[in-house]
């Protein structure tokens, strides 16, 4: 019988299906009588809809129906702010906004119908940048929005008319501390909009059978989709069933409700027939983006390099609809001061409406933007103070038990140790001195990011069922997006009940069977849902122990335990199998355990206590070609303070995956808009990291102190490792070339220009090739 499976890199339980092509994703499902839908979209970033000429398309023999705003519920939806229509009503607010939907017998006929649908538009001036949207004469993107002025925006000279949401936190006396600080640094940093590009695009299949709405969807948050659909279509929750099959990557892009309302509207139009809505890659790019942002940091530093005050202003371009933008602004603003001991902090943020596609969740949720700013500024400060960047960080970094914010959970991870370890690994024995001949210059850089992990005020449930043959089923509302939920939950239950891993099966969620969960996001699944899973398994263990006591007449005083696959009390022992087989308790056929875990509510700015802190600490050594500005990553070290690795190989996979995703954002990715038109939705023009961009050497260093609040001391991961990437690379590039880049991405051209500017600033701009060092 088994022993311990926690801490072992067992192969992922969905692995065989995935390497053989048997794994079924939403788009692989086929149902009898299935019909297809395709979306006709706005051609303009802002325009009034004059007429939709639907009749021609409606009359085509293969077309079943054409829906416009009149045929769908008028109610608006949105997880944090209900501002988004199912189909554009009267006016479209971004280029690509769904305006009509064609249902046809085949996908080709639906797409053809949508392409041929004629819509008369009356274009209006569009707002595309944060500055345009905040200017005094900007028209409101949402007429009904933002009537009240926000005083601090007004002091920045900004109108509040397109303010979607603001956030503020403050402690100490920032103005006084800045006034008396020895040094004050003010710097502004920008990041562009990005697409997450999970390889699986948005897909859903919806069926209204006259009494129940079932929707299969590649969604990270089936229960939120269920709630939004129930509200939109005026149904009770128990009449909506959201099924989330295996998901081909999420990264936040599939968090919260996306295409499901359109899918559901189609289902109601053709009762009894499943309708498939499958977006193209270009349409997926128009569905959600990562927020473009601008972050201004004003930092006061004492003579000995201690940060005494920091004032942060973070503006997020949230596009035409809020989606997760309000919460991204909260989290970005909350995290913007950085993981440092600062007595005087003020941080404000605003999600700004514009006429761009909606921006929402993306791995890191507002943190990548602010970490890029504060970790770049740390090196700027270190340089101006002639101090080592690592020394400046060590002097100011928060230690375990200290508070990131006075009314939140104290820090539970070890940042100073991570900084020490990352330096050791960057300078390890096997490091060979790099080639700096010719145009190549080499430099190293470091960065630390920190985010509150797990989300606030979330609830997680789990149910474990032990069957009479000793196999167990785990029911959770979590989704499998590739992170390994199916595998680690099986490990947790196998451990608690001393079962073979093959005898534990975790079910993919549908909202009718699975217990409620708030979603697969915020690196929360293992730590929070996993805690509920362990609780459920322990309930079953207690029931087994009770059964053992009854069956084997264990005296009331004797302690009974389950260990190494056997139950024992004093001299009496029995295997788990035996107890189950003999167990009269199993006459019912099943033991059921339930678990519930919720994070603490609190009267603080986020409305709840942080469940755990998720750090990201990295070092990078880069080589820059000073003639072309191209960058090669020679060595990258990522510290993963995971608390306890339930499956080390899966942890490493999350780490390098997040880091390489961050390298794309740092070095090459940017959604380009011109007058509100997205120019590079397609992968021909939008460059993602390929095998060629893999660093020459990548190291993940796991730190396991057992100090996380999750099962076995685990702490959530998956986002932390993306946080420090851009700043670590930017700092390394600056160390190599003397050129500092403030706005991502750091393409060769941007670096080349920054080198020219740096050289010019030093008065040596006479040579074509910048002189460095």
């Amino acid at each position: 019988m088994t022993n311990t499976v926690v801490g072992k890199s067992i192969p992922r339980v969905d692995g065989i299906d995935k390497v053989t092509g048997r794994a079924k994703y939403t788009g692989d499902l086929k149902f009898a009588g299935m019909v297809h839908a395709a979306i006709a979209r706005s051609s303009f970033p802002r325009a009034r809809i004059d007429v939709i000429h639907a009749d021609d398309v409606r009359q085509r023999p293969d077309v079943i129906a054409v829906l416009t705003a009149e045929q769908v519920p008028p109610r608006l939806y949105g997880t944090f702010i209900e501002d988004q229509p199912v189909l554009a009503h009267g006016e479209a607010r971004y280029q690509g906004e769904p305006t009509a939907v064609v249902i046809a017998r085949s996908h080709e006929d639906a797409v053809g119908g949508a392409a041929d649908l004629e819509i008369d538009w009356d274009p209006l001036p569009a707002l595309t940048t944060i500055d345009q949207a905040l200017s005094a004469d900007a028209p409101p993107v949402h007429a009904e929005q933002g009537s009240e002025g926000v005083p601090w925006l007004a002091r920045e000279g900004a109108s509040s008319r397109n303010c979607c949401h603001t956030f503020a936190r403050e402690h100490g006396d920032v103005d006084r501390a800045l006034a008396s600080a020895t040094h004050v640094f003010e710097d502004t940093f920008e990041v562009p909009a990005l697409q997450a590009f999970p390889l699986e695009r948005y897909e859903c299949i919806a069926l209204w059978d006259g009494s129940e709405l079932t929707i299969w969807s590649a969604t990270q948050s089936p229960f939120i989709v269920r709630r939004d659909l129930a509200r939109l279509f005026d149904l009770h929750l128990h009449r909506v069933n959201v099924v989330a099959p295996l998901i081909g990557g999420g990264f936040g892009a599939k968090l919260y409700t996306k295409i499901e309302p359109i899918g559901a509207a189609c289902a109601f139009a053709v009762p009894g027939r499943p309708v498939k809505l499958s977006l193209s890659a270009n349409e997926s790019a128009l569905t959600i983006t990562q927020h473009a942002a601008r972050v201004r940091l004003t930092t006061g530093v004492s003579a000995d390099g201690l940060i005494v005050a920091r004032d942060c202003l973070s503006l997020f371009n949230t596009g035409a609809y809020a989606d997760a933008g309000a919460r991204v602004a909260d989290k970005g603003g909350y995290r913007a001061p950085g993981p440092y001991r600062i007595d005087n902090v003020r941080s404000r943020s605003c999600a700004v409406y514009t006429n761009l596609p909606p921006a929402g969740a993306y791995r890191g949720f507002g943190a990548p933007q602010v970490v890029w700013a504060y970790e770049s500024q740390m090196d700027v400060i270190a340089e101006r103070l002639s101090m080592s960047p690592l020394e400046l960080r060590q002097r100011n970094i928060l230690h375990r038990g200290e508070h990131f914010s006075p009314d939140d959970t104290p820090l539970d991870c070890d940042l100073p140790a991570s900084l020490t370890v990352v330096r050791e690994h960057m300078h390890g024995a096997s490091t060979v001195p790099p080639d700096e001949s010719g145009p190549w210059r080499v430099g190293e850089g470091y960065a630390v990011g920190l985010k509150d992990g797990g989300g606030q005020r979330t609830a997680s449930n789990a149910e474990v069922r032990l069957e009479e043959d000793g196999s167990a089923t785990v029911l959770v509302g979590s989704t499998e997006i590739g992170q390994g939920m199916l595998t680690v939950f099986a490990q947790l239950v196998a451990e608690e009940l001393q079962l073979e891993i093959e005898h534990v099966r975790v079910a993919l969620p549908d909202t009718r069977r699975a217990p409620y969960d708030s979603g697969t996001n915020a690196s929360r699944t293992l730590t929070l849902v996993g805690s509920a899973v362990v609780m459920a398994a322990r309930q079953i263990r207690e029931q087994l122990i009770d059964a053992f006591r009854d069956l084997y007449e264990v005296p009331p005083g004797a302690q009974a335990v389950l260990r190494h696959g056997a139950l024992s009390a004093g001299q009496v022992t029995a295997s788990v199998d035996e107890v189950i087989r003999r167990g009269s308790l199993l006459r019912g056929g099943q033991l059921i355990g339930t678990g519930y875990f919720r994070t603490k509510a609190a009267d603080n700015v986020l409305g709840g206590m942080t469940a755990f802190w998720e750090p990201g600490v990295a070092g990078a050594q880069v080589r820059v070609d000073t003639e072309t500005g191209s960058v090669q990553i020679l060595h990258y070290v990522s510290i993963l303070d995971v608390g306890r690795a339930i499956n080390p190989k899966l942890c490493e996979g999350q780490d390098i995956g997040a880091a390489v995703m961050g390298m794309g954002a740092a070095l090459c990715e940017r959604l380009e808009f011109e007058g509100g038109q997205l120019l590079n939705a397609s992968l021909v023009d939008y460059r993602l990291p390929t095998f060629a961009e893999l660093p020459e050497r990548f190291e993940t260093v796991l730190i396991e102190n057992g100090d996380g609040p999750g099962p076995h001391g685990a702490r959530g991961i998956g986002e932390g490792s993306i946080l420090p990437v851009a700043a670590a690379l930017g700092n390394a590039i600056a160390a190599a070339t003397g050129a500092r880049v403030y706005n991502l991405p750091m393409t060769p051209e941007v670096i080349w220009r920054a080198m020219r500017e740096a050289a010019a600033a030093e008065g040596s701009n006479t040579s074509v090739v910048p002189e460095v060092k």
Binding site: G21, D28, E200
Partner: protein, 162 residues
């Protein structure tokens, strides 16, 4: 509406099975495989021959099925991910992907494995540079590529030592 309705007969072998069908001349190979043959292991994503998730082998060469017309496969031998394992025994490349955690969400995996098969048939012992160069037409958003690199090396070792 200006739709081409011409159809052509194609005879080909898919995973060793003889196929004889009529297909519209405009049909893409990826749709023929996924919809007509119901072999959904082949995925589609970017539609512009960049991401590689629709990679299948046509006469042993990796091809993006999203930009390849079905009728062009007339007379060809096609291999999809479903044709790789023999019964319940995984192909060494599949086993190596499993052992190295080279699959996360799994969406790139079928194409990545088929591209790897083509690479290892061309070069039984590719070095790191060759692997990186050969597979750069297959994107993965989850793994950061390193585990895939390890899996390719492991598979090449196992195949050579078998």
């Amino acid at each position: 509406m200006n739709r081409v309705s011409e159809r052509r007969r194609i005879r080909c072998k898919v995973n060793g099975h003889d196929i004889d069908r009529e297909v519209p001349v405009t049909q893409l190979l990826v749709d023929f495989i996924r919809e007509d043959l119901n072999l959904t292991g082949t995925k589609r994503s970017c539609d512009v021959q960049v991401c590689g998730v629709c990679t299948v082998l046509v006469d042993g060469r990796p091809v993006s099925a999203c930009t390849y017309l079905a009728f062009e496969a007339d007379g060809a031998e096609i291999q999809t991910i479903e044709g790789l394992a023999s019964g319940s025994e995984l192909h060494p490349i599949q086993q190596a992907f499993l052992d190295e955690n080279a699959t996360q969400c799994g969406y790139c995996t079928p194409g990545m494995i088929l591209a790897t098969k083509s690479l290892l048939e061309d070069d039984a012992q590719p070095n790191r540079e060759r692997i990186r160069d050969y597979l750069k037409g297959n994107l993965c958003r989850c793994t950061g590529y390193q585990p895939i690199l390890s899996a390719v090396v492991l598979a090449s070792e196992r195949i050579r030592h078998d």
